[in-house]
């Protein structure tokens, strides 16, 4: 009984404190627009900018009541946006192009990581020295068709064809496939996440991002929104990206804060590994990954997108040619370049 009343007391106190908090915040910004964000996966270092912006209250400052949600299927977020169930989502450049070909009304509004993270990885113990050595070996993939096209391109550059290797799709089981030795190489892990994990656990991985093996460069992570939604209410997306740019800049200049934010959001992560992953990831998030100083945060290069589209068409991943200018817009980016510390 005493325990119960104590609990009730704590509850009442908590509610009072929360209520006061809400009230005082309400005074500073009267009504905040709700804004839902679908992440591409459980919170991880790729999301450092989002998580720091959330922790630091940058979204509230921008007048947005942001909720972040994470799916267990990375192909779901873009569908949620197209269905109007989420305001923006994290997706991948190839996924945006495929979705548009399927008739989904989605547009990339900001680049988050403007280069490929998807990598081919093998372990030192496999005795593989270069791609050519993969002849006759088993290669695991996530079973994503455009990544199978990456593999085809990588093999072709080394003078191999698809028939020279045994390809097996293992869904989420990429790392176990090479650690167990069931597959000798894997295509699909991200070098800044799984790659770092493998390194730290002493598996001696050899990691090659796909653009180092002949696949044209593309934006691994982009922010997508629904086309019609952008026309109706352009400001919310603009405000959101500004706040995200602010959060990203803060994360880049304060890696400890970024790591803490990621670990807070996902308690299942290993702290030491996460810190190393954040360290590897922050330089990519900086300015959305772009090197040039005169571009705003999240800038997407139309020519680069077009080159990737042309490659996808050549690989028959896309059935018909598309125009990069339709698939992306830089109109919602912060006007001034954000200097990330």
């Amino acid at each position: 009984m005493r325990k119960l009343s104590l609990f009730a007391l704590v509850l009442v106190a908590a509610i009072t404190v929360t209520a006061c908090g809400t009230k005082s915040e309400d005074n500073s910004s009267p009504v905040r627009e709700t804004f839902s964000v679908a992440l591409d996966w459980y919170p991880n270092p790729d999301h450092a900018g989002f998580l720091v912006a959330e922790d630091e209250g940058y979204f509230e400052d921008a007048g947005l009541d942001v909720s972040l949600s994470a799916p267990s299927d990375p192909s779901l977020p873009i569908k949620l946006v197209a269905a109007g169930k989420a305001d923006v989502a994290i997706s991948y450049e190839p996924e945006v192009l495929l979705a548009r070909e399927q008739g989904l009304d989605v547009v990339a509004v900001s680049s988050l990581v403007d280069q490929p993270l998807t990598s081919m990885i093998w372990l030192k113990k496999s005795k593989i020295k270069r791609v050519k050595d993969l002849k006759g070996k088993t290669i695991s993939t996530a079973g994503i068709s455009y990544q199978d096209a990456y593999l085809k391109t990588i093999l072709a550059r080394a003078g191999l064809s698809e028939d020279d290797v045994k390809q097996v799709s293992v869904g989420q089981g990429l790392l176990p496939s090479i650690v167990s030795g069931r597959a000798q190489a894997t295509l699909g892990p991200l070098w800044n996440i799984e790659g770092v994990d493998l390194k730290l656990s002493g598996k001696n991985p050899v990691i090659n991002p796909v653009d180092k093996l002949g696949v044209p460069s593309y934006s691994e992570l982009v922010l997508v929104a629904k086309g019609s939604r952008l026309e109706e209410d352009p400001d919310a997306v603009r405000l959101f990206i500004s706040a995200l740019a602010r959060g990203t800049a803060e994360a880049v200049s304060n890696p400890g804060k970024a790591t803490a934010a990621v670990l807070d959001a996902n308690t299942a992560l290993k702290p030491k590994v996460t810190a190393a992953q954040v360290k590897a990831t922050l330089p990519l998030l900086r300015r959305g990954g772009l090197e040039g100083k005169d571009q705003p945060f999240g800038y997407m290069d139309t020519a680069k997108w077009q080159a990737f589209i042309n490659w996808m068409v050549k690989q028959e991943v896309l059935a018909s040619p598309a125009h990069a200018v339709d698939a992306l817009t830089n109109d919602f980016l912060p006007s001034a370049p954000i200097d990330a510390g």
Binding site: D73, S75, I78, K79, A82, A83, E95, L98, A99, Q102, G103, L104, T138, S140, A142, G143, I144, S145, Y146, K166, Q167, V168, S169, V170, G171, Q172, G173, P176, S177, S180, R182, A183
Partner: protein, 250 residues
């Protein structure tokens, strides 16, 4: 024919409603049915026809896995049931394990089985057998234990051997239950096949579904689901037919 009419009508009505929901804006809004989330039946039918060779090729692979996995489970399930029935202490020791086998989330165990058995048909058989084993074993055991003890006593008093008692009394009595268990098993076997293929494969309907999901080809994904349902229903029906042929005394 009369027996088939009600389910056919119901299925037709549901498909019609679904088509209507997909076609008319109002219903689509109400149900949140959008083609890239839930394709209409006509779209699925179109894909079924257009990609029939691709689908048939992968369905054949999955069907082989299902049937083979089912037979593994049948052998194991009936074997365990007989063992449990014959030796009480084995039953007391092993029954909790049999129940525990059902608590293993297949989607968790499948990738581990893949690492053990490789990317061939092995892990798929193991996953399917794991799912199918329980209903077969438990139903068969219940059947064996449902035999009237007086009949057994009478047989024994007439100098029947243990084997004769089993073959003439216990086995026939357990058959209907064994068939029930098998029918449940074959209906869920398709789920095991898909999980097995998701964990590691280069062909099969589950493999195709992975690809289609990543390509937002929802219609073809649903086409695979339709084929899986058809496989499960056909196998279920075949077992029913077999049951009526075998158990003539009912």
């Amino acid at each position: 024919m009369k027996r088939w009419l009600p389910p056919l009508l119901l299925v037709a009505a549901l498909i019609g409603l679904w088509q209507l929901a997909a076609d008319t804006g109002f219903l689509a809004d109400a149900f949140g049915l959008e083609p890239f989330l839930v394709p209409s039946p006509s779209e699925i039918a179109t894909v079924l026809w257009k990609d029939r060779s691709l689908l048939a090729e992968n369905a054949r692979v999955t069907l082989v896995e299902i049937v083979a996995g089912f037979f593994v489970a049948l052998a194991a399930g009936i074997g365990v049931a007989i063992l449990f029935h014959r030796f009480g202490f084995v039953r007391r020791a092993g029954y909790p394990l049999v129940v525990a086998s059902q608590t293993i989330p297949v989607i968790v165990i499948a990738p581990i089985l893949v690492v053990w058995f490789g990317y061939g048909i092995g892990p798929k058989l193991a996953v399917i057998a794991l799912i199918c084993f329980f209903p077969i074993a438990v139903n068969t055991l219940d059947g064996l234990r449902s035999v009237d003890p007086d009949t057994v006593r009478m047989m024994r008093s007439l100098d029947a051997s243990r084997r004769q008692v089993f073959l003439r009394v216990e086995a026939p009595a357990a058959l209907p239950q064994a068939f029930s268990g098998s029918r449940i098993a074959v209906a869920v076997a398709v789920i095991g096949a898909v999980f097995g293929e998701w964990a590691g494969s280069d062909e099969g309907l589950g493999h195709l579904m992975l690809q289609d999901n990543a390509q937002l080809m929802t219609a073809r994904m649903f086409a695979s689901v339709a084929i899986l349902s058809a496989i499960a229903m056909t196998l279920y029906g075949l077992l029913g037919l077999l049951e009526r042929r075998v158990i003539r005394w009912r």
